[in-house]
């Protein structure tokens, strides 16, 4: 009986412990902002992609596709769905009517995506999946937790606080992010170019992905290519471990976000960087941002003080244990 009770308590602690709502609030804001950009970026080509007699003939809808444009085949319906998508993204971003706006955001994105699947990449899937989880959370959560501003609640004396509330959304997102890395690492582990260390050089050489300037030697130098390849797959393998260990969690966040920033700088991957950033926010804890801001100074002091200290200070990313809640 006791093991069952322990298990039940652990389960409740894992899913239902109240937490500061700072990170759910920032997930909401970033999801809304990214979805807004997603919808706005469709506008220049909207007619081409969605109107009858343009680039695409009517898509074939299988029985599992429930997007609105499968039922409403008129051009005005596509415009209306985009209008709903943009409006709901704005409302989610600004924290207004979120319980209604979040499900509408998910459904409008789903509807638009199902009409132009040939143009979609993994980042569109990721955004849609985050929108789905957030929509379920929004429907089941009191709206006062969904309308917080980016700096929390203002007290009468002018100071600010973050209320503590339900945060099971973070757990789902943490598990989803972990599974993305495990899945991609397992698939890449079967690829010869990931074994021989040329995958990064080849990916950087694909002209359809190239974005900002990358020096030629980064792509052409075998050693640099090997290091880049193995660093990327090494991180994808180790990030799940780093992120779920409370002593290395913040280091994992920094490394993971840094890796995706580098990918996004070099390659046109759509919304993959903001999408992954949304996932990483789920792994952050109160006080992390402050620690990150202090990191450069802390590293500088660590280097400066080294000769006088018998042991160097631990990496500043490892916060004092008492300051970390269980992940």
């Amino acid at each position: 009986m006791k093991p069952l009770r322990l298990l039940s308590a652990a389960w409740s602690r894992f899913w239902f412990s109240p937490r500061s709502l700072i990170h759910i609030t920032w997930i909401r804001i970033l999801l809304g902002a990214t979805a807004l950009l997603w919808g706005l970026a469709l506008i220049p080509d909207f007619r081409t992609f969605f109107f009858d007699g343009e680039l695409f003939t009517r898509p074939r809808y299988s029985s599992t596709r429930i997007g609105a444009l499968g039922y409403l085949e008129e051009d005005w319906a596509a415009v209306a769905v985009l209008g709903v998508q943009l409006t709901s993204a704005f409302l989610v971003m600004t924290g207004r009517f979120v319980r209604l706006a979040a499900p509408l955001l998910f459904y409008s994105m789903l509807s638009l995506q199902q009409d132009i699947t040939i143009l979609m990449n993994a980042s569109d899937n990721l955004l849609r999946i985050w929108a789905f989880y957030f929509a379920v959370f929004a429907v089941l959560t009191p709206s006062r937790y969904l309308s917080l501003g980016p700096r929390g609640i203002k007290r009468a004396d002018g100071t600010r606080r973050w209320p503590v509330g339900p945060a099971w959304l973070l757990r789902i997102m943490q598990i989803q992010l972990t599974i993305i890395y495990l899945d991609t690492a397992i698939e890449k582990s079967m690829g010869s170019r990931w074994h021989n260390g040329t995958a990064a050089s080849i990916a950087l050489g694909l002209e359809e992905f190239q974005r900002f300037y990358v020096p030629d030697f980064v792509r052409e130098n075998v050693i640099v290519g090997n290091i880049g390849t193995w660093l990327a797959i090494g991180l994808e393998v180790t990030l799940p471990l780093l992120l779920w260990n409370k002593r290395t969690r913040l280091l994992g966040v920094v490394l993971g976000v840094g890796m995706h920033f580098a990918f996004d700088y070099a390659m046109r991957l759509g919304y993959f960087f903001p999408g992954m950033l949304i996932g990483y926010i789920a792994f952050m804890r109160p006080g992390d941002w402050q620690r990150l801001k202090e990191l450069p100074g802390s590293l500088f002091r660590s280097v400066r003080d080294r000769p006088t200290e018998p042991e160097p200070a631990p990496l500043a990313l490892a916060a004092p244990e008492s300051d970390l809640t269980a992940v």
């Binding site: 970026a41 596709r65 899937n125 009191p142 503590v164 582990s189 694909l206 792509r219 046109r268 759509g270």
Partner: protein
Amino acid sequence: MEELGYTDDPGWFVDTRLGRVILSLLAAGAVYFLVVWNLPDSELRDQLRPGLATPIRTAGIAQDWGVFAPNPVSTSYRVVADIEFADGSSERYEFPGGDPWIGAYREFRWRKYQSRVRRDENRPRWKPTTDWIEAQYADGSVETISLVMRSKPVPEPGKNEVTEWEEEELFVARYEPDESDDADTEASG
């Protein structure tokens, strides 16, 4: 800015036994789906996934994270169109581009389209593509449009290779000037 220690009413879904049971079932179902759906290609996945397929695809949360896996493709692809006009002139049409900052969020869709439309399984899309390109020339003076796939192998790192673009004609559509709906077509390649 951040402060712990203040607990508000979390709402009945988290604060009551029934609510927690419902949420627990949802959470357990989500974890089961995430694990099973993303299992490596295996007998276990083949047995467990079909039961999930309909609800997961209907909910719109089916997923596949094999980005650049198992290997990145090693050839760059572009699709362009060579257009001949009634007056004998010609022009090469390229799909819309975009700057690397904000324009990238538009352009990546066109690049994705080019990388997919070239494939043989997307042959039914070639004619609508040439029709759409023809419609971009409002004066109706287009006589033929050849859809061309351009490909260039990515040089192997460290070998100082220079590779060139190669071109393959995918499809030719002929238009009667001002009567684009009656285009004759032929597939190549």
